[in-house]
Amino acid sequence: MSHTNPVAIAAVSEMKPGRYPDMDGYDLYIEVIRQFLAEWSLKPSDIQGLLACPSGMAGGGSNDIFVHEQLYEELGIKPLFADTMNAGGSTYGLMVQRAVLAIQQGKVDSVLCVGAGKFPKVSTGGAESMARMVSHEIYEFPYGTFIPALYAQVATRHMHEYGTTAEQLAEVCVASREWALLNPDASTYGGEALSVEKVRQSRPIASPFNLYDCSIPLEGGAAFLVCSEAYAKRLNQQPAYVLGMGEFHNHRNIHQATSLTDIGCSKSGQQAYAMSGLGPNDMDFAEIYDAFSINPLVFMEELGLCPQGKGGEFFQSGAARPGGDFPVNTFGGLLSFGHTGDASGMSMIVEGIRQIMGIAGERQLDKANAGIVHSYGGMMSEHSTLILGRSA
């Protein structure tokens, strides 16, 4: 983005994903902000804008569309730019994009982006309320929809068109678990490694997905501060620059997607590459929203990070694992880190920021000059791609 003023993310914080039965979506928000303020030395005047997401939506809870008002009042700030916005899992990627535009327009020098999420337990009717939320009330839900089975449409079609196998899908889960075992905040940290056999032998949910092909439903949240370069440098010697960004809104209901193997990610990806002046070969790593094992596989292809139809071979090669040629989901992914419901779209952005800042602990990559972060909302419906880097 050499033609515009650089914008960078200067501060980041994420709750450990878990079950927080005593907190509702709003309580989680307050805890996220408390933790963020404790970790970074900020004063109220450092936060000039605020973007939040309706909290507790996935949990069937408050679904408060005025949450930004409550949060800026609690913070004690009077922002020049604020909103509660929602685009499902792509909400937080789009928050970055909205914040960048507001900063480049000169409206504000900093925007706090914050999210907190609940996730219902599948057994308590939660899966039905989630299925109602993400499938067409009239033309899909009456056919017994279930989130894994909606994503599975993409997997089955990919297997048909390119010969991708269930074992190759399992390789995505194996790679994510290896990364999670290096991340003390991951819900599976300290647990066991996965193998292709273990994934394939776990109980079937919705073909081709077995239990371990599905992310782990938990709760949590995160926050980060998007800043003008001058502001960012004051807070952090190595902020994460937003070099490129793109968005694309493809469909709402999965049966309306024109193609299940070109589902809209390539469009947001191309915009992000064009803006950054970088290409797939310049990326050192990728952080990709992975509600199910198929997602990173399809998005690697759509983002041009491996040839079309070769996503399965890419993961089978071990390239995505620790020590591999092209690390993917270095925090463990939603598959092994945990999926925090409304806030799940935060986790891959948080990790991208940390890798660029060089604060990713044991899993810190040797080479992290530029990375790509892709998140989507709905049934792979709407897409946000960000390219983050160490220098503007």
């Binding site: 009239i138 009456p142 279930f146 089955t156 048909h160 919705a206």
Partner: protein, 142 residues
């Protein structure tokens, strides 16, 4: 105490779609076991699902046209665990996207077929399942 004998459990009814004004003809024809979709004369194309304008050209002069009811499986999943109480008795069942021979795609279950036999590109034909006082389109091997 004999009146405390538990009644035989009746499975809950499967969801009955809400009928919107713009889709009334679709459901009315479905009752007669005909697959009739909205049709745009300007585009010379049927579309799914029913809405007040053609999503390709915004033409609001929509007519209705009966389709062959033939199609193929575009993609599918065999569901082994469902959150819907009304679908428990059907497990495992198939949730599919059907591509009609005339072009539009719709979601449906594939019925009257061993779940292990369902394949992408498999030829299917429409049938109608009764839900209360409605009938909804479903598909089975052709």
């Amino acid at each position: 105490m004999s009146d405390l004998t538990p009644a035989a459990a009746t499975p809950p009814a499967k969801p009955q779609p809400r009928i919107t004004d713009c889709a009334a003809p679709y459901w009315q024809h479905a009752k007669d076991e005909k697959l009739v979709l909205p049709y745009c004369g300007q585009c010379d194309a049927s579309f799914y699902y029913p809405r007040l304008w053609c999503p390709t050209c915004f033409n609001q002069d929509i007519s209705w046209k009966q389709l062959s009811g033939k199609g193929t499986v575009y993609s599918y999943s065999v569901i082994y665990q469902s959150p819907l109480p009304s679908y428990q008795a059907d497990l495992p069942y198939v949730l599919a996207i059907i591509e009609l021979d005339e072009g539009p795609r719709m979601m449906a279950n594939v019925l009257n077929c061993d779940v292990d036999k369902v394949r992408v590109d498999m030829a299917v034909e429409v049938l109608f399942e009764t839900r209360g006082d409605m009938k909804i389109p479903q598909f089975q091997p052709a």
